[in-house]
Subunit: 151 residues, 5 copies
Amino acid sequence: MLIDCLVDTSIAVVGSYACIRAYFHLERRLRAYILSTYLPSMLVVLLSWVSFWIDLESVPARISLGILTMLTITTQSSGQGRFPAVSFTKAIDVWMATCLVFVFGAFIEYSIVNVLARREKINASAISKATATGGIAQVINATIEQVLFDK
Amino acid sequence: MLIDCLVDTSIAVVGSYACIRAYFHLERRLRAYILSTYLPSMLVVLLSWVSFWIDLESVPARISLGILTMLTITTQSSGQGRFPAVSFTKAIDVWMATCLVFVFGAFIEYSIVNVLARREKINASAISKATATGGIAQVINATIEQVLFDK
Amino acid sequence: MLIDCLVDTSIAVVGSYACIRAYFHLERRLRAYILSTYLPSMLVVLLSWVSFWIDLESVPARISLGILTMLTITTQSSGQGRFPAVSFTKAIDVWMATCLVFVFGAFIEYSIVNVLARREKINASAISKATATGGIAQVINATIEQVLFDK
Amino acid sequence: MLIDCLVDTSIAVVGSYACIRAYFHLERRLRAYILSTYLPSMLVVLLSWVSFWIDLESVPARISLGILTMLTITTQSSGQGRFPAVSFTKAIDVWMATCLVFVFGAFIEYSIVNVLARREKINASAISKATATGGIAQVINATIEQVLFDK
Amino acid sequence: MLIDCLVDTSIAVVGSYACIRAYFHLERRLRAYILSTYLPSMLVVLLSWVSFWIDLESVPARISLGILTMLTITTQSSGQGRFPAVSFTKAIDVWMATCLVFVFGAFIEYSIVNVLARREKINASAISKATATGGIAQVINATIEQVLFDK
């Protein structure tokens, strides 16, 4: 007679009985996923951060860097096509989307910095022009105008 | 005896009868599609709008930005290949095509602005040249010529 | 008795007979193909023509534009992989190949224009140098040399 | 009685016998492969040769041209994924690999030319500097140094 | 009577017996993999080393070179999608990941060199400015400041 091993047999049942207990130890072999998905996408996110080291003035370099990392992440997501298409969210989808958002953030950061730097340069030249032609009053006016009207 | 539950039994049939009613609540789990398709394509369309922030003079940067976003959208569309190929239009196809048209529009906008800016610069130098060499009559002539012959 | 409806029964056969006639109206639903293949490739070909609007001097922009449109068309052709691989030529293959040839033509046009513009610039500087140093005879010589020896 | 038609029956066997001979004419329909694989890869190899026409000084243009053609050939090879994966070498694999090597060669050619041009420019400025400051002896020294120490 | 050939029959068993021995010689045909995977990825890694030859000043060229080789390796990895998706690490995955790391290293090398070169240029101009305006004391100060505060 076989009884359920999970039932605590020490108290209720008098006598000793045989019971079968099976453990299924399921383990996902992670190394393949790390090599083919996680490592490349991490490297690409790191690449997008290299953009912060490059000179602000070299616009084509930083723009290319920003978009090509986006494109690389996208290509890697497309390479996931070998897995069967399921309707629920896989952890790997969340990972790839997060990587994409990081890369996108690095790009947006550059575009904002680019706009600010250009505005600053225009302001600086306006102030220096005011200094050259007029007196202190004009410099103050130019500065105030910039602050007020956000030129 | 089972009768159709949808028939209003309160009036016509005398007596009470058992009837079976089943509700099938079908719901598409959207999160996977949002993460793997809608989010990336939205980010790429946003990227193509960053082009409006970048300086007009940096031609390679804006051109690269325009085309690489086109290419990224195309790569994302190719990544849809894991869905079975059906002959009718899916909502996701309409979405991807709309994204492509948006990105294309941002690129065309730049090329038009580029042409206009170049023409304006040529006109400005022509007028200043006329001012330097001749009198007001020539400046007026140059301006009229530009308007008339669309130089 | 059933007879073939396609046989003209009005003359040869005396009497009236029943006949079955079936029409199968086959129609390809085009909208999905237009959205996922024809529209994107048309837009990319249009993009490659934008190259004619951009300034001749901005070499990196026009080169990038030329190649990236080639690459985009190629990516779109690869995206056709979801259709079963058949050995005969499909109309969509002819379309994609034609788009590729158009994009290639636009690129080749730029490279030829680039070479001609560079040669013209060298010639112009040679003539102006001859004008500066010597008399009219040298200018004529320089011009003749360019024509004859295709410098 | 049927005998093998390939045996020369005119001599050895007396009498005439019926024999069945079947010819199977197998022909590969090439046009689809030419349109979808051979034509695009040929165009891309031609594109990589356009690099020889472009000005030596425009480094970003020629570098982009070199790598993007590599990338395009790679994308085209990936597009072969619709054919079944076999373990032996197909003629189309040899073709794609050869195209890749051609494109690679064109790129390497540019990088070597780039290095040589830079070295030549440095040498020219060194000699002109020596000419400006010192006498002929220094010019000779500079030239010898360049040849000997490969500066 | 058949006995196991692997058992050493010379000693224990008296007499001679027939035994069947079969050798299965399994050999992987490597040429297809070399042509379609190993050769292209090796070429791309070589391409990424070309970056070391190109001038330090041409930022867009070297940045494009670095990222596009990353993208090409990624595209090649995606092209592996025709092999069945298995959960263990294949040798080809290790190879592709190693190539990716090499290409990434070449890119990181450039970004570090770029930062160092920019810092050196700033330092040089600071020292020359100090030399022009003040005496030796200021030059020493500037140098010390650079070393101490890592300007």
